[in-house]
Amino acid sequence: MKCENCSKKECSKKQKNDDTQSTSVDALSSSDGSEEKNEFDTLANAKILLSDCLACDSCMTLEEGARVFQQNQKEFFRVLNLNKKCDTSKHKVLAVSLCPQSLPYFAAKFNLSVNEAAKRLCGFLKSLGVHYVFDTTIAADFSILESQREFVQRYQRRNQEEHALPMFASACPGWIRYAERVLTNLVTSHICTAKSPQQIMGSLVKGYFARQQNLSPDKIFHVVVAPCYDKKLEALREDFYTALYNSAEVDCVLTSGEIVQIMEQNNVSMKDVTEVAVDSLFDGLKEGDVVRHDGKRSDGYLEHIFKHAAKELFGVDVKEITYKALKNKDFQEVTLEKDGETVLRFAAAYGFRNIQNMVLKLKKGKFFYHFVEVLACPGGCLNGKGQAQSEDGKPDRALLAQMEEVYTAIPARLPESNLHVQRMYQDWLEGMDSKKAQDTLHTSYSAVNQSTSSLDIKW
């Protein structure tokens, strides 16, 4: 293991990490003894492939690394197995929420339609003992609606408040963690406070759904199937809700790849699994066909916020959005012209290098976008390291192209048209502008400054 502050000749090369391919969790240096060595080895061998945003040691503590690692198959099966034992006090209701960016992976990998993939995945999980399988699109609906409203409010405050604009998207945990741990308040004050779909799903399952089912939140074990490992770190995020319920909103995140591993280990082929309709949060109702939000490779924030802002602020109805790729295909620009003037300037910045450039321009005061959809992974969430990597750790371009095709073919639906969401705002959240809605659907970010060593290294 790399010894961060090593200045000794004896720093043992024997401990070096063999794995040079993936950006694995390189556990923090320790000048302590053998106790911590075992944990280091475990993390390194686990090949937890975090995004480039989390590649260095500032972004994750050793303790967090251990908790990220714990979110694995073993944990999942531990809970499933406890359900089979007699001690009912240890029984839990197992709920698995599927991310919309994970479904195209299963569909492309097994040559299924996205609806077949969803239903078979549901069938497989239920055959293992999972009680409910949900789709997180409804949580994304809430997240997008809140983000839209927040953008409009920030835009209206732009001359009074320094940090109102640009607004940065908040759904990507790699980006958020990087911003909080490495960047300063200069950046975090610009991040949209709406919670990510995963966090909202946590509140929906442990709050709304638990109440409907007369269950206490700690009786539900909530698993999320996600396209990346960064989501495991996000699951550790604490909120007032966590304290309120004394239970994490998301107990375990498993990547799409880990689910496939479970299938392989159980000798199950997707072809042979029976299709079972995906559940909804509403008693007895099953989910219909899979829908998605607009947006080519992304989770839809840019598209929906742009269209909403164009309408609300300028009275313009935008039907189709034209993207202009700038320096590289992961930095794209979208503008709204009105009466010959550019009134809105949005951007999509994916991947570490584009995030760097964005931050540098922001620091220099040369950043002229109103909103940026920021994602840690080039190519967007479909290219998350929990699904699109081939054996040698390189992105599987063919599979990615297939996934994009599958994703684009899914019919898009506006979050505004989800009647369940409207109803929940009224019934569960006591209104769109209520304190409950604010507390449940928003969070806050803070820049944490790590102490830096000021000692000059000897070499």
Partner: protein, 224 residues
């Protein structure tokens, strides 16, 4: 020995501190040095000796580890343990900072200009190699790629003499090569063989061979 070199002069370059690196300007008229006193110094011939023409202070908060001249000789890059790389532009009366490249997590160990002058590479103890694109007019530098192929501290980066091919040397005992692939940079080769830290690499002028030196007390010459 007829090919031996004889000492011309001895200069006390960085008072009370280590002089870490040197670089001749492309024309050979100037010599840049950098050191533990956080400065970069420019030296020129004066009579039979060398005199200090400029002291570039206030650029860095910590040791300056490496300096590199742009191929045109108008710019000088300085890489520092403070995590930043400054780009200085030369003008009549001295040098001024035109850009500060930030982003590395910790100490920057090396900086190098591509032969075309339009790309710059930096590497750091944070294990990554960054490629920057130079916009000479705007004097803007944009990050084009962040390469995290090495598993340990990266000590040195050097560009191929004529191609946009980059080599890096690391504490992980390997040398890696990088080139552009579609719209991003990738590590296209890993040279294994050294059994300890590779401290530096150098390309032969024709670009056919590369030599690396290591803590394992060997020099290795590599060929395609």
């Amino acid at each position: 020995m007829p090919e031996a070199l004889s000492l011309l002069c001895r200069v006390s370059a960085h008072p009370e501190s280590r002089c870490w690196a040197l670089a001749w300007s492309p024309s050979g008229a100037l010599l840049a040095s950098c050191g533990g006193d956080r400065t970069v110094r420019i030296w020129g011939r004066e009579g039979s000796g060398w005199a200090c023409r400029a002291v570039l202070a206030d650029g860095h908060q910590r040791t300056v580890r490496r300096v590199a001249w742009s191929p045109c000789g108008q710019f000088l890059a300085s890489a520092s343990f403070d995590g930043t790389t400054c780009v200085w532009r030369r003008h009549e009366h001295g040098f001024e900072v035109v850009a500060t490249l930030e982003g590395h997590e910790n100490e920057v160990k090396s900086v190098a200009w591509a032969p075309s002058g339009s790309l710059l590479a930096t590497c750091s103890r944070d294990k990554s190699v960054w490629v920057w694109e130079v916009d000479e007019e705007e004097q803007e530098f944009e990050c084009v790629s962040v390469l995290s192929a090495h598993s340990q501290d990266v000590k040195h980066v050097v560009w191929h003499p004529s191609q946009e091919l980059l080599a890096s040397a690391s504490y992980d005992d390997t040398v890696r090569l990088y080139r552009e692939d579609e719209d991003d940079w990738v590590c296209c080769a890993t040279l294994e063989g050294h059994t300890s830290t590779v401290w530096a690499v150098a390309w032969e002028r024709s670009g056919q061979r590369l030599v690396s030196c290591s803590d394992d007390r060997t020099l290795r010459v590599w060929q395609r």
